[in-house]
Amino acid sequence: MKLKNQEVSLDTLDWQILQAIQKNSKQTYSEVGRQLGVAHSTVYDRIRKMEKNGVIKKWTVDIDLEKIGINYITARMTVYTDPKESENVANKLSEAKEVLEVSMSLSEELLIIAKVLARNQDELHSFIAKKVAPLQGVLRIRTSIVTKKIKEERFLIEKK
């Protein structure tokens, strides 16, 4: 049994299954099996195995919030931190429901970059002023509100 953080080796069929379900995760095991010329039970077994070893982290859905009347703004927030506190700041940000992504970057300074979602600018500012600025180790914050999204696509793995 491999641990979750260890690299997992996949064979050609595993890669093909991943590619198929990335395009449409709603299709049945039989449909995937038909495309790849294998039995649905094989697809089931491979998927179960990839769930167990953490290759497939979760099954989710991409909802168009505007279609259901939820208007929101997205912002990219760059948080400059004291290096001693950066891990803690990143963890606290990860816990906030307003924050969708958190990454760390080292250029000239240690930065935390987060994607933040809010209903409007007031809500965005209130979150940053009340929940982010007071965190121990936060030195300053730069925020850019996304005004137009040109492309948004998840990485699709290539067939090996």
Partner: protein, 109 residues
């Protein structure tokens, strides 16, 4: 104004209740005030853009009213806002207003 109410207004606040200076939505300058005295000093230090941003959003009044619970200072800041000052005039008027109030409170403490 009783000594205890002056002391309450002049107290040192927690990080959560401090005033954080921004220059625009989400852009934190790194400057914060954890007491009224520190707030007065920061008015002289922070960028004018930050003072303009907060004054016209009503952030200063909100903080003096809800956190410091100083109605008198809140009213005086509202009066400054009505004059619609900008630039260094804003900085000077705001600093004069806050530092004068600070002196009053210290004298009754």
């Amino acid at each position: 104004m009783t000594p205890s109410s002056s002391a309450r207004i002049l107290r040192t606040l927690s990080r959560k209740n401090a005033f954080y200076f921004f220059t625009s939505v989400g852009n934190y300058t790194g400057q914060r005030a954890m007491s009224l005295e520190e707030f007065a000093n920061k008015i002289r230090e922070v960028k004018i853009a930050s003072l303009e941003f907060h004054l016209y959003r009503g952030d200063f009044e909100k903080w003096t009213d809800e956190v410091l619970e100083d109605n008198i200072l809140t009213e005086r800041i509202s009066a400054v806002k009505l004059l619609e000052p900008v630039g260094n005039t804003l900085r000077d008027q705001l600093y004069f207003t806050v530092s004068k109030r600070l002196e009053e409170l210290k004298s009754t403490e």
